[in-house]
Amino acid sequence: MKELSLHIMDIIQNSIVAEASCIEIELIESKSENIYSISIKDNGKGMSVEMLANVTDPYCTTRTTRKVGLGIPLLKQNAERAGGSLTITSELGKGTLLKAIFQHDNLDRPMMGDIAGVIILTAAANENIHFVYTHKTESGEYVFDTKEIKEALDGISMNQSQVIRYLKEMIIENLIEIHYSN
């Protein structure tokens, strides 16, 4: 993947397949501590100890349509190449927390890319799932919560191009305000 936002889009699909009803995405940028961290937490069905131990193996997948599962290994590779790490904790029946940490200034850290687009496209395509996207920088914090959005939209579907456009703009405006870096 060329951009971290695409990794996030990919990892969220894992949570969706795990039947999560709430997915929390948290990005923390700290230039002073030289950290760019991505956490994705879900309340899906979780993984057994055996599955968890094998999950970074590219030949491990729950799919029946193909024999490889590259989503997590690719993210791990990118994190490690950028002086960071990937950790996953999971409990059967409770959910999973994936955390990928990058060095903020590392030249091998991929760009974040279109995170607003990723969040809104995923949320619009899965309206029954509650998404909370938190982005923290040293200048502030922005929280995008689909529960609030749904209340504001009052019955109108998120999955329409005009609404998607407005929501994307809203996220970008708020991210600019907290001086997010790409």
Partner: protein, 131 residues
């Protein structure tokens, strides 16, 4: 256009749009609409499924076609990503492979508008592992 920045702005925007959006209320009867599912697994995302999905959502609206665009997992056609599945009302689903913006345009113009088949269809009897 004023910028949407807070939930209050969003509510204001919504009121302006409401009359238009209500006409397009989709959830009631999805069978009567064109349904498009974009394969969004690692393979799809890595080869540009997000761009295709954004293109589809924008272009279908611009061309006034009532459609629902959603995501699906990997359908097993990783070699042909990005793939999309198009279901026209009362017809069987058709899967197209190697979809970029140019192909997506062709699919909208020929298949969705005129029900003309275009190149790039993945036959349904194509065997995937353990299907």
């Amino acid at each position: 256009m004023t910028k949407v920045k807070s939930l209050a702005d969003l509510r204001k925007m919504k009121e302006g749009l409401e009359s238009k959006l209500n006409l397009r209320e989709k959830s009631n009867n999805p069978e009567s609409l064109v349904q498009i599912r974009v394969a969004m697994a690692t393979c799809g995302i890595a080869s540009g499924a997000k761009t295709v999905m954004e293109y589809m959502i924008d272009e279908l609206e611009k061309r006034n076609i009532e459609a629902v665009v959603t995501q699906t997992g990997c359908m097993g056609y990783c070699y042909a990503e990005p793939t999309i599945e198009v279901t026209l009302p009362n017809q069987d689903a058709v899967v197209f492979g190697y979809v970029n913006e140019k192909k997506a345009n062709e699919i909208i113009e020929k298949y969705i508008k005129n029900n003309e088949l275009v190149d790039g269809i993945i036959p349904v009897n194509y065997e995937t592992i353990k299907k």
